[in-house]
């Protein structure tokens, strides 16, 4: 079971990267030529191991960090595809995971303004100031708030 478990994890991530969405349990079962029930048990085990996260009481993948299975305020455009990231950290996690440049459309929390960032040549660039980045890329003043200490991240991952 262990071998196929990690193959399923890899398939889910590969599917996300290729299609921008998670595979359904039926798609995973078909890919591995196994029963849907068996694929479901593998999904539950990977959820228990924090390899990805299911919607409560379902076999629908909500998060395979940094990818989100549902729309969010963090859109990440990479190589002609648009992904949703789970949070402000994960919007940078997608280009890091894919080892690619990216354009990010995000919404500031509380002020609700939109912003476009670019990850290019290993740097984060903010084009908010009239399309001209500051000397440091214009992103040094943008802030990401981590509300909970690491020991509590998995208590409620959606909130985190």
């Amino acid at each position: 079971m262990v071998d196929i478990l990690w193959q399923v994890r890899a398939f889910v991530y590969s599917h996300f990267a290729d299609t921008t969405r998670p595979p359904s349990v039926e798609e995973t079962a078909a890919h591995f030529n196994i029963k849907t029930e068996e694929a479901g048990e593998l999904y539950k085990e990977l959820n228990n191991r924090h390899s990805f996260f299911l919607e409560p009481e379902t076999l629908t993948i909500r998060m395979a960090n940094p990818f989100s299975g549902i729309p969010t305020d963090f859109k990440v455009h990479v190589n002609g595809k648009t992904y949703f990231a789970n949070c402000a950290w994960d919007m940078l996690g997608i280009p890091a995971a894919l080892h690619s440049d990216a354009v990010i459309d995000a919404i500031f929390t509380e002020s609700n303004e939109s912003i476009q960032l670019e990850v290019k040549d290993g740097k984060v660039i903010n084009y908010a100031q009239g399309g001209v980045p500051a000397e440091d890329g214009g992103s040094s003043s943008l802030l990401i708030h981590f509300p909970l200490p690491f020991t509590r991240w998995y208590d409620d991952l959606v909130f985190t």
């Binding site: 940078l92 995971a97 708030h145």
Partner: protein, 72 residues
Amino acid sequence: MLLFRSEEWIEKWCKRNHLERGEILTINQVWELSKLWYHNRMSVDYHGRSMEQVAEIFRKAGLTSKFWYPRS
């Protein structure tokens, strides 16, 4: 983890949600953390990481306060 324009907006958000302020990082700090945290996420050999590996990533990213301790 949410994106804010300034600390002022973080204070407003915390107050409105009756939450304590957590840790605030610049986007460049989070980019450095992202590369350490996610660089091998697509690998078939990635099976998660130990608490020791988590602590090492935070250390490399310069995150050394108690907030980042992997064990309480």
